[in-house]
């Protein structure tokens, strides 16, 4: 093979061709010949490079990686002269360098294993050929060419893949039920309604590697016998929606979606449906109602969606991450996949690490890793060298686990037994300065707001719990509040239809179980041990540290601080609104909370 010192990729996107890409390419070849560079510089056709509408026709020059845009036959000459003869980039025709820094997804840490996140940031999500280059759609080819639907289901069963949306139901079993349902047509649905505050694993996959989800859905559709699929994505993810739509369009153009996929006779197509921002629509029956155009409220199960789902027809619903696992399992084999994870939970799980941890962001670890390893080895420990207090897994319906649970392995069963949930993978770390009553109040505020209102225990009960917690935080709690909270929690769990109501009390139950002393301090001693609840704290100035610099007095919004210059200052606690500004501005650590 001849060696070229440089390669020019010319975008052959249809829009670029419309705008004269073929003439540009011809001119380029001519100019290179004039300067005797034909043997040094190679010219190749390429799929789209930049945005064809605003940047085409465009070329990409390697090894420099220079991206020249909006080319005409007249601009090719100067580029050849400057770039290839003189080695200078022509700034006026160059595209702005795109910011490639990704703050959400850093380099993998030592203990991470990345399967789902493997290609994110390394392939262009808007270019299907990038996905194909990393073995994309090979699993689909294998399934359609060599496997029966039952074999596919058996493979997924054997892989022990479990629903990554949180409940952990075996995916193979779900597919089997949908396949066995006699009614037709059948539907495949992807739940991309990622609503947990702080969680963005699914968004990252949809934005960075959308074809892995489409391929997984197509394989599943073949297995259950569905010909139409829907991705239900929340409207708050506009980039994910647009990336998905581009990916679906390209898959159709390449014949990987639509009629007679890969000549197998199997038809399947996918459409995107946008949610309107209701948290409850992540619940599968509410989600289906929303796709149908009805109000997003859950309904009684059974019948389960596998027998009566979308428009009363058999429907299979899986989460984004579940689908993204499927092609990897088929392509790389069971042995590889089941070598990772714990006894009952195989493979990996993505988490969004947030809160008081040193390295926040997305991570992916094999099941069975302990919370301690995740928080300390991967997350880098607690921010600012403070002590660990609790970690909440699984989003607003998860439980808060204390230090004594740090060595628990992370899998569905263990987290469930400890009083939390796997959820979709939110993980919020809290340090010693977190008030657990306040945290319970915070999550209850979220869930009571998101309760759809269908079940009275959830609608009214969460409201009552929130009121009690607000009362305790305000120092007005009474001893009877504790048994009342317990009773409300157990009744809401018992009498609610869906996961939202059944999970809503979790933060309260788990904090009462592990941090009861904090509740008692608030109620009996009117004291907030973490010094967070404003009604229960006072600010004062230490005379031996105060230099009388007047900074606090000048910044106090209610003029509660008095004192002469170079004399010790004093806070009038009757006027003080406990905003904490004085503590923030003091340069001598003289302001303390009591």
């Amino acid at each position: 093979m001849a060696y070229y010192r440089s390669t020019v990729l010319v975008s052959m996107d249809p829009v670029c061709i419309d705008k004269g890409a073929l003439d540009v390419k011809e001119q380029l070849i001519r100019e290179l010949a004039i300067y005797n560079l034909s043997e040094e510089v190679q010219v190749l056709d390429s799929p789209r490079i930049g945005d064809p509408e605003s940047e085409g026709p465009d070329i990409l020059v390697y090894p420099e990686g220079s991206h020249y845009i909006q080319l005409t036959t007249a601009t090719v000459g100067p580029i050849v002269m400057e770039h290839f003869i003189k080695g200078r980039e022509l700034q006026q025709y160059k595209a702005q360098m795109r910011d490639v820094m990704d703050e959400e997804l850093g380099e993998p840490k030592d203990k991470e294993i990345r399967i789902i996140l493997e290609h994110i940031g390394k392939i262009d999500p808007r270019n299907i050929e990038d996905y194909i280059a990393v073995d994309g759609y090979q699993a689909l080819a294998k399934v359609l060419g060599e496997m029966t639907p039952d074999q596919v289901i058996q493979t997924i069963l054997d892989s022990k893949l479990r629903g990554r949306g949180g409940a952990g139901f075996p995916t193979g079993l779900k597919w089997k039920f949908a396949r066995q349902a006699p009614d037709t047509p059948k539907y495949m649905v992807c739940n991309a309604d990622e609503g947990d505050p702080g969680a963005f694993m699914n968004r990252k996959v949809l934005e960075g590697d959308p074809h892995s989800v489409l391929e997984g859905m197509t394989i599943g559709a073949y297995a259950v016998g569905a010909n139409q699929g829907y991705v239900y994505c929340r409207a708050e993810y506009p980039i994910a929606v647009s990336t998905l739509n581009t990916a679906i369009e390209q898959a159709r153009e390449y014949g990987l979606l639509g009629k007679d996929i890969l000549g197998s006779g199997f038809d399947f197509d996918i459409e995107v449906r946008m949610g309107a921002g209701a948290f409850v629509c992540g619940e599968e029956t509410a989600l289906l109602a929303s796709i149908e155009g009805a109000r997003g409220e859950p309904r009684v199960r059974p019948p389960f969606p596998a027998s009566k789902g979308l428009w009363g027809k058999p429907t299979n619903i899986n989460n984004v991450e579940t689908y993204a696992n499927v092609p990897k399992i088929i392509h790389r084999g069971l042995e590889w996949y089941t070598s990772m994870g714990s006894e009952k939970s195989k493979g990996t799980k993505t988490f969004a690490l947030a809160g008081d941890v040193a390295h926040t962001g997305l991570i992916e670890v094999p099941f069975g890793m302990t919370l301690r390893e995740i928080i300390y080895d991967i997350g880098g420990g607690i921010k600012g060298g403070k002590a660990f207090k609790a970690v909440q897994t699984g989003g607003p319906m998860g439980g808060c686990l204390p230090v004594s649970n740090l060595d628990l392995p992370v899998d569905y069963e263990t987290l469930g037994a400890a009083g939390s949930i796997m959820g979709s993978g939110g993980m919020i770390v809290m340090d010693e300065e977190t008030c657990m009553v306040d945290i319970a109040r915070f999550f209850m505020e979220f869930t009571q707001d998101e309760s759809c209102g269908k079940c009275v225990p959830c609608r009214v009960g969460t409201r009552r719990i929130l009121e009690i917690l607000e009362r305790i935080c305000a120092g007005k709690g009474v001893p009877e509040d504790l048994p009342l909270l317990r009773q409300l929690c157990s009744e809401i769990i018992q009498d609610s239809l869906c996961g939202l109501g059944q999970g809503a009390p979790n933060p309260v139950i788990s904090t009462m179980k592990h941090f009861l002393d904090e509740y008692e301090a608030h109620i009996y001693e009117k004291r907030c041990p973490a010094k967070v609840c404003r009604s229960l704290i006072t600010f004062s100035i230490l005379p031996d540290k105060c230099t009388g610099c007047t900074v606090c007095a000048r910044n106090c919004p209610v003029a509660a601080i008095t004192g002469e210059r170079k004399q010790t200052h004093v806070i009038d606690t009757d006027i003080c609104i406990r905003c904490g500004i004085c503590k923030q501005v003091c340069n001598f650590d003289a302001v303390v909370i009591n």
């Binding site: 060696y3 010192r5 090894p63 194909i132 280059a133 759609y137 390449y254 014949g255 990987l256």
Partner: protein, 122 residues
């Protein structure tokens, strides 16, 4: 737009796509940079570049990235050639004739031994 009608089509497309992707993936490769400013060209940088190209082609070394850049800014030292081995610091050579370039390629790029007598301070 190629419609994929069979598994063979898909495999073919994968190979093509991998080639394009490989081009864009440059980490971990040896880079040879030739200063091709006006001064460099006047001093014979094109001939030096040609010699390097010929060497790479004759020795079948496809994993080397040969780049050109503008004036490197070392007055009087043109043509300037820089060699960057993966993980190593940039080594700069000055007044590189085609014959010197071939030796740099043989010793530094292939065997990893810096040709000290051609080296200049950058």
């Amino acid at each position: 737009m190629p419609t994929i009608k069979s598994i063979d089509d898909l495999k073919r497309l994968r190979e093509e796509a991998q080639k394009v992707k490989e081009l864009r993936d440059q980490t971990g490769k040896t880079q040879v940079v030739v200063g091709m400013g006006t001064v460099g060209i006047a001093a014979g940088a094109r001939e030096t570049l040609k010699a390097i190209l010929t060497f790479i082609e004759d020795q079948h070394l496809p994993d080397i990235i040969l780049r050109q850049t503008g004036n490197i800014g070392l007055g009087g030292q043109d043509p300037v050639v820089q060699v960057i081995l993966p993980g190593a610091e940039t080594v700069t050579y000055g007044k590189v004739t085609p014959a010197m370039a071939t030796r740099i390629m043989e010793e530094h790029v292939v065997k990893g031994i810096i040709v000290q007598e051609f080296r200049i301070e950058a």
